[in-house]
Structures are given as C-alpha cells and as structure tokens.
C-alpha cells in the first residue's frame, strides 16, 4: 500500500513539474514535515486550489467574519464557562466589588461578578465574548444581505440559504440564552418576556414552554438557569458547528458565485461567460488563506478594541435578578430590538392575542419569508454569476423594505429614548411611531421598485 502511494506521488510530482511554472508547493519538498503530511494527506490535491471569487469590495469576506467571530466566541466562552456557575440560590459575594461585598446575591450573578472583577483578564474576556456575539450576528446579517441582493441564493445554492437561515436562528437563540446567564435584573426581565411570548402561542404554547424552559419562569428559575447553560454552551454550539460544516461543504461542492464584472467582462481574452466548466478566482491555498488570516486578525482586533473600550451588560450597575424590582430602561440586545418594537407597536385590539400576533406571529412570518425566499424567488435554471441588484426590481425592493422595517421597528423599540431626547413622553409619540412603522417600509420598497423598473425600461429603450 505504501509503495503504491509513493509511486503515485512521484508520478504526480513529475506531472506537476511539467505544468507548474510558479514553483508552487514543491518548494516545501525539502521539509520532512511537509513530505510526511503530503504522503498521508495528499496535499497536492485539487481541492486545496478551490477558487475564491475576485471581489474588489471585500463583501465576499463577510461570511468569514461571521466564522471567525464564532471561533472567538468559542475561545472566550471556554474561559468563561470554566468559572461561571448556573445557580440561582443566594450566596454571599466575597469579592472586590464594594457594592455587593458580604451581600447575598444569586450564585450565577456572584460568579459573573467574580469573573468580571476578581479574575485576571476576566472582564476583558467577558466583554470580548459579548462583542464577538454582536459581531457574529451583525456579520451573519450583512453576509445574508450580500447574498440576497446579489442573488447568490438562486439555483443551485438554495440549500445553503436554508442552512444559513438555520444558523441565524441558532445564533439568535444563543443570544437569548446567553443574555439570561448572568442572572442580573435585565436578563431576568428579558427571560420573562421570552417565556411569556412562548406561553402566548395558542394551542401548543404550554407544550413548547415545557419543552424549551422545562417549567415556569421565574418560579422555577432554579431549574431553568442550568438548562439555559446547557443550551448555551453545548446544544446550540454543537448544532451551529454542524451546520457551519455543512455550509462549508456545500460551498466547496458548489463553488462561489462569480462577479461577472470583475472576473470576465474586463478581460477581452477571457473564457466564454457561458462556459460553466471554467471557474475563475484566486486559489484557496495560498492566496485566500493569506486573506483569511488577515480577516481573522482584523476581526480579533476589532473585538478586542470594542471589548476594551465599550463595556456592555454592566451587571454591577444593573444589579442582581430580583422578583421585586425592575430597573428602568430595560431593553434587549440590539438584535432583538425589532421584536421588542413589534410588541410595543401592536395595539390592544386583538382580544388578548396582541402579544402573540406582535411578538411571535409577526416575527415568525418575517423569518419564515426570509428562510423560504429561495422558493418564492424561484429559478429553474442554475445561475453562477452574481446579479446587479439594480437589475432585479422586486427582490431588491423587498430587501430594502425588510431593512427599513427592521430599522423602524428598532427605533420603535427604543421609543422611550426617542421621547426623552425630544422632551416628551412615549405615549405622546406612539401614533407617530406606529405610523412610521406601518408606512415607511412599504413606501421605501415601492419607491425602489418603481425606480428600478423605470431604469430597466429606459435601458431597454436604449438597447
């Protein structure tokens, strides 16, 4: 067996020497490590030369930012997970924070205080974890917008859009369960709202509540917090890792969509754009790997910068979870702000089903349309080039309206801050907020649609 391998290697190396002009991997032939690995892993294989698209805007790197954010989340989460305790019962905090020294606080809260203020490097790692989570979701969102507006989800890449949608949902779940773990007064309120939203679902609400929470919150918090810890550090990360693997596999198998402008039209002697057998771009090794190392370093640097200078979820200020108090200005993380806004904007005219309609049904429809968009905008023929968003009035208009809706609902979610800034009350600006929520997204979508339609018509006349 080993003899065969050697013969093959010699043969392939010989063949490569004839064709390769740039030196390529042969420069490592003097390395014993390289030869040892090559003999076992066949490092000359074509798959290491997978072509990555040439993209002058770097928008094809957003998925990598998401991937590297996840790596940072796993690394920082490991540090935190070794010191965090998912305990709701009261313990006496013995650490350095004077405000809580010698006081009874929930065990989880005490362990987060300890990580933040009593453990070397702890505050930085906790903040890096939180900021990496923000960046993870932001990068997933922007990556999806890139794929959406360039039509990269079209046949044959529908499965990867579905997997990506699943990854977004899992990431949101991680955000929800992770927010609960410090067991401060904000996280208790946010968890209560999520619990009530689950319970508000007609017919299956009680069953779902028991499946997800395993009891009533906050009454059974003693049992629910350890369950959330399990979800947050094991179940969801395992699912995310599995889906990322599948996402990568589909990507390697199907190859990227190509940007027609940067890869073919500019080259007068390039291959025929309709020739599917030709894939252009830079090879994975070494070009794209070098690029990825840079992207990773940038991602880590940005997370470190934000973590060092901009603290978030400051548990010592918020205070421990208490059934009897609730700090003002309670709000979710930004990626749930639109659902928060939808709950606020749903008027009480649905016979008690308002909170289900605003908090579960509406976000469910939004996420459902997003995930199933590949079947709404169906394409029977395979497409391998990115589209110009300006050439696709309907999808682009829907995408713009969706972004607009997320923005106005998030503003509506922060209506108390808007009211404070304007020197008025949230009640007073409610009608304007509701009007903005209902009118701005469709208006923006319609403007984009008709503008792009006219553009196409004009172009048609010219041509």
């Amino acid at each position: 067996m080993s003899e065969d391998t050697t013969t093959e290697d010699v043969a392939s190396t010989g063949a490569n020497t004839d064709t390769r002009t740039d030196g390529g991997v042969e420069r490592y032939e003097h390395s014993r490590l390289y030869r040892w690995l090559d003999a076992r892993l066949d490092l000359d294989d074509d798959s290491f030369g997978k072509a990555f698209p040439d993209d002058r805007y770097g928008s094809f790197l957003l998925g990598e930012v998401a991937l590297f954010s996840f790596v940072i989340l796993a690394a920082t989460g490991t540090f935190l997970g070794l010191m965090y305790t998912p305990v709701t019962s009261e313990v006496v905090y013995q650490g350095q924070v004077a405000k809580y020294a010698g006081q009874s606080v929930p065990g989880a809260f005490a362990s987060v205080l300890r990580i933040s203020y009593d453990v070397r490097f702890g505050m930085f790692v906790r903040m890096a974890h939180h900021w990496a989570a923000y960046l993870f979701l932001a990068a997933i969102g922007l990556h999806m917008f890139r794929v959406f507006f360039t039509g990269a989800y079209r046949n044959p890449r529908e499965p990867n859009w579905l997997i990506g949608s699943g990854l977004l949902l899992l990431a949101l779940g991680e955000g929800y369960f992770g927010y609960a773990l410090p067991y401060d007064d904000f996280s208790q309120t946010a968890t209560t709202i999520g619990f009530q939203m689950t319970s508000s679902i007609p017919v299956v609400g009680t069953m779902l509540k028991n499946l997800i929470f395993g009891g009533d919150f906050p009454a059974n918090a003693t049992y629910i917090l350890p369950r959330f810890f399990f979800y947050h550090v094991f179940l969801l990360p395992v699912l995310i890792m599995g889906l990322i693997g599948l996402h990568m596999f589909f990507l390697l198998r199907q190859k990227h969509t190509e940007n027609p402008e940067s890869s073919r039209d500019s080259s007068p002697i390039g291959p025929d754009p309709d020739d599917d057998s030709v894939v252009l771009g830079v090879p994975m090794w070494p070009n794209q790997v070098a690029m990825s190392v840079i992207v990773f370093c940038f991602t880590a640097a940005i997370v470190a910068f934000l973590a060092a200078l901009f603290p978030v979820q400051r548990v010592a200020i918020i205070g421990p979870a208490s059934p009897l108090t609730q700090p003002s200005g309670v709000r979710p993380d930004w990626f749930f702000m639109w659902v928060f806004g939808a709950l606020k904007m749903t008027p009480n005219v649905f016979f008690g089903y308002g909170r289900f309609i605003g908090g579960v049904l509406f976000p469910g429809i939004v996420i459902g349309v997003m995930a199933l968009w590949v079947f709404i905008d169906r394409h029977d023929e395979p497409v391998h080039f990115t589209a110009n968003p300006l050439d696709r009035p309907m999808p682009t208009a829907v995408g713009v309206a969706a972004i607009s809706m997320i923005i106005v609902l998030s503003i509506a979610g922060m209506d108390t801050f808007v009211a404070e800034t304007l020197g008025t009350s949230a009640d007073a600006i409610f009608p304007y907020m509701l009007g903005m929520t209902l009118l701005v997204p469709p208006a923006e979508g319609a403007i984009v649609y008709y503008a792009l339609k006219r553009r196409l018509a004009r172009r048609g006349e010219v041509a």
């Binding site: 499946l211 395993g214 009533d216 308002g354 909170r355």
Partner: protein
C-alpha cells in the same frame, strides 16, 4: 436480472414474471423498511417530546390570586416592616412596592405577590375602581403587567407605566389600560386600615388572576 439468478425450483416462472416479482418484493421491502424505520423514529420522537413536555415543572401555581392575600393580611415593605397608614402623603400620588406578610412575619418575596400601593386623595377615585376597596386615599393593585409580566415599576405623569413595552394604567380609574399593548387592567386589591387605625391590611384577595397567564 439474468436467468442465472432463477432458483432451480422456480420452474413455473418465466423470465418476465420473475423480474416483476423481484421488483415487487424489493418495493414491498422498501415500503416496509420506510414504515418500520419511520415508526421507530416517530415513536422515539413522540415519547421524547411528550416526556419532556410532561416533565415541565409547575412553579408558583400554589400561589393564586385567591390566596396571596386573604382578609387581614398585613401589607409589608420589602424589609418585612408593616406599612403604616401615614407611610405616603395623602394626595401625593406617590407609590410604594409592598408585599403580603408571611405567616410568622416577613415579606412574601414572590414576583406574583408584588403589589403597588398608591396614595391620592380619598375622593379622587372613579369607577371602575372599587371605591370601597380604597382606604384614606390608598389604592392597591397587582404590580405584574398583564402584557408580558414585567413589573409596572415606572410612572408616566399620574399613570402607572410599565417600562418594558410601554403600557400605561390609570390608577384613579381601576388601573385601566390607557395606552400601550396590555390587554387588561391590573387587578385591584381590597385594602383597609386596621382597627387601631395605624396599619394597612388586605380586606380580601385580589379581584382577579395575576399577570398574563390566566390559568
């Protein structure tokens, strides 16, 4: 399928019949396999889901709106001190978070039991406030929002305000919803002044279920 595969004893079958019979047998096997596998996975899944759903803990159900306060339960602050009748200034509209006193003293520190005590003037209240459930300008409501069970811990001018999703309740009119998404008023707690005229106590249970989950 070639004739070589025909067993020696299969004399009655010609080639075509044999092919059909093999194909049919294979299809039957496939269908049975799908049914069997599906049944096994389905049975495990159903047991898994119903088992988890049945294992759901019931918390706080022993506390109901009917037994959180009973006639004669003292109102206490979070430290467990009984609330006196001059705790808040009359007509001030000030609020205080109070709790029912446990048997043997101390506050019952359960979210479901949190109660908002507000003091206005004795004649400020209107229907649908239960006027005979107020005492010396004091009125008490459940503090648990009927929308998503946040605590109604804020004020918007005179109204009680839930900082989560912005529901306003009018404390002078039975804590009716005057703005925001909550579907129903906060249940009122009947209160009175003790015989000595010094302390506040409940004269009965809450008027209805607490919070959003109307079990």
């Amino acid at each position: 399928m070639t004739t070589d595969d025909i067993p020696d004893d299969a004399v009655s079958l010609d080639e075509t019949d044999h092919d059909i019979s093999v194909t049919t047998r294979r299809n039957v096997a496939k269908i049975l396999g799908v049914i069997g596998g599906g049944a096994a996975i389905g049975a495990v899944s159903i047991n898994y889901i119903t088992g988890l759903a049945d294992a759901g803990l019931v918390g706080g159900k022993d506390l109901t709106y009917e037994n959180i306060y009973v006639e004669g339960t003292h109102l206490v602050d979070q430290a467990g001190n009984r609330v006196s009748a001059n705790q808040l200034e009359q007509g001030s509209g000030e609020t205080l978070t109070v709790l029912p006193e446990k048997e043997g003293g101390g506050a019952l520190e359960k979210k479901k039991a949190t109660t908002l005590l507000v003091r206005f003037g004795p004649d400020d209240f209107e229907e649908p406030t239960h006027l005979d459930w107020t005492a010396n300008g004091y009125v008490a409501y459940s503090m648990v929002c009927t929308h998503e069970e946040c605590l109604v811990s804020g004020r918007a001018e005179e109204n009680l305000y839930c900082p989560c999703h912005g529901t306003s309740y009018d404390p002078l009119r039975g804590a009716e919803v005057v703005g925001g998404p909550a579907p129903s008023a906060l249940p009122q707690l009947p209160i009175g002044v003790s015989d000595e005229g010094e302390l506040l106590l409940a004269t009965g249970p809450f008027e209805g279920p607490i919070g959003a989950s109307h079990e």
